[in-house]
């Protein structure tokens, strides 16, 4: 119902409808950017090396992984692609995913004062942290392009596929991110679990090595990890390694949709108690 003053009537009661929530989410969309911008502005005001950090972290990890897997363990690269490039292309989506996941899961606790003092759709808080992770990803992608230039590697035409792949990574992080940040509010000791997940996941993904060294009979099992498809996709798009990983990417897409559904339902379900328990 519309009122003379131009506002719709708002009814607040236990278990109010979903429809209003999505309308509010749209109405508060500007806040998403403001929150992301705040995170960003604060981070780069507080640390001396600022943006450089987003580039430095993957570079150093790349150096270590190349040393361990290629130089020490003697694992082969894919075709004639330089080993460091292959590692870096795998790390790009992984860092995006893991930093989006960890910061999203911490986000509500970190913004407890907001949650208990003002109303807005809480979904914006974890969503904003994913936007910040996306900016870091952009910086790292720039480093990747510089590296390719340095190694005299020409990007193939399918490099444009990086954008939809990055979007898929963000979506894949969103579902578990929502569930984890809701769990973090309810269970205060849960925050110690998340860094472990991020650490452990790194070893399950083909980051320091090429997925071509995985034996054929384990391939499907290996691809059940939704990040495998994305990492293979990135290597295909940036360096032209292998064929388009259709099967594993389909698994990633399916997992992303499923996880968002579950994460969103869980988040929405616990959201009404956030202000009471935070």
């Amino acid at each position: 119902m519309s009122l003379p003053n131009g506002h719709a009537e708002v009814i607040i009661k236990a278990g109010a409808g979903d429809q209003k929530y999505w309308q509010d989410l749209w109405r508060y969309r500007e806040l998403l950017f403001i929150l992301a911008w705040r995170e960003f502005a604060v981070r780069y005001k507080q640390t001396a090396i600022g943006v450089a950090w987003a580039a430095l972290r993957p570079l150093l990890t790349m150096a270590v992984l190349t040393l361990v897997f290629s130089v020490l363990a003697g694992l082969p690269s894919d075709g004639d692609t330089p080993y460091p490039l292959m590692v870096f292309a795998g790390m790009l989506p992984w860092y995006f995913f893991s930093s989006a996941l960890t910061s999203a899961s911490d986000s509500l606790i970190a913004n407890a004062s907001l949650v208990s003092k003002v109303y807005f759709p809480r979904l914006l808080v974890p969503a904003a942290t994913i936007a910040v992770a996306a900016v870091d990803f952009g910086v790292a992608l720039g480093v990747m392009l510089l590296l390719m230039f340095a190694f005299h590697v020409l990007p193939p035409i399918q490099i444009l596929a990086v954008l939809p792949l990055a979007l898929l990574t963000a979506l894949l992080a969103l579902g578990p991110g929502l569930a984890l940040c809701a769990l973090n509010v309810t269970y205060r000791d849960f925050r110690f679990v998340v860094p472990f997940i991020a650490q452990f996941g790194m070893y399950l993904c083909p980051i320091g090595f090429s997925s071509s060294i995985v034996p054929e009979q384990f391939k499907l099992l290996f691809e059940l990890n939704p990040m495998v498809g994305i990492i293979e996709g990135f290597r295909w798009a940036l360096l032209g390694i292998g064929a388009f990983p259709a099967r594993s990417l389909a698994i990633s897409l399916l997992s992303a949709v499923l996880l968002i559904y579950v994460g969103l339902r869980f988040f929405r379900h616990t959201e009404r108690t956030f202000a009471d328990v935070i």
């Binding site: 009537e9 607040i12 009661k13 403001i34 705040r38 003092k117 003002v118 009404r272």
Partner: protein, 423 residues
Amino acid sequence: MLPIISIRDLGKKYRIRHQSDTPYRTLKEDLAQLPRRIFRGKTDEIVEEYWALKEVSLEIEQGDRVGIIGRNGAGKSTLLKLLSQITEPSKGSIILRGRVASLLEVGTGFHPELTGRENVFLNGAILGMSRGEVKRKFDEIVAFAAIERFLDTPVKRYSSGMYVRLAFAVAAHLESEVLVIDEVLSVGDAEFQKKCLGKVEGVSRQEGRTILFVSHNMNAIQTLCNRAVRLEGGSVARDTTDIRLATHDYLGFGAARFATWRNPAPSSSKLPVVPLGLHLHTNDDQVAPAIVTNDEPLWVVVDIELKALDPALTFGYALHTEDGQLLYCSYQTDCREVDWPRLSKGTLRLKTPLPRRLLNEGNYRLEFMSRFHGRQWLTPPGSGPTMCFSVQGGLCDSPLWQERRPGILAPVLPWYLATVESP
């Protein structure tokens, strides 16, 4: 016209956890409880339900300036949180027929590293303003806060006064039909408080904005509001346009025959010093009636149970007028250390004279307070037990001064003829 806010049978239930040490649930605990939950179908955790608000029904018309008063825990803040949609009601409903802007805390979302300018945009967005709206009002906001020179300084370098001014300025410029304000004006200096109240009153009178205002400051309620709702134990105890009446019974006048307070459940307190009673005694150690004259010698008597001795333990009382203005505080440690009363564990009674012929005619509220000096409050101001009394008559022996004089105090002071040496 329909009321701008209709509240029907509103209730909010909280669960209080007794078993654990932390207020938060932990996964460890829940996992440990899991086998018991499966096999016995219950846990040994005692969850107590507590209705912070129950059966509240109110209709608020456009342009109403409603003061919401009540003791700590009466449900004021819960009501505001429900109105601001921060938390959901457990029962009942609220119908809002206009945009609600709420100011439950000064500077929500302010980040110390960001500059004043950046924080205005940030805070505006958090409070629900669009970028355009903030831009349009930016100059006005900055002028109101009077911080032009420090716009590009990080707010961590602001004085607390500047911080509050800026934060309030943003909220006060929100375009909304309803403005919900919690006790936020208590920070900031008196002059700024006046300015804020003036601004709030202005927007209400000129633009017909509806205001819901929570405060412990009865003066502010009396100046600003044209309607008062007193909450008690989560329900509406009084809803009236007679502000004086509401503030009066909030302060606890009228009912009592004797100036006394006794702790109904002393054993439930975990404090190292438990207030047992608070009385006003006459010179012959009888409890004074609730109405006393200004000239009789009276004693403030404090009964406490002391469970642990601590050299920093300080307790005493604060005396307030009926408007909620603090007159003075007095503590047992207000003299040289050798003269402090020597305390021992157990039940103690201490007494201190109430100054004669200092107060004016009127109603007073005496509140017990205690703390570890320099460390922490045990019974912080505003939360302690209180005792009320009125002063009537006995103002002075002069035939010329018979009734209440203007002014907060009415001391009787001696006058002497001083000899002046002629030049």
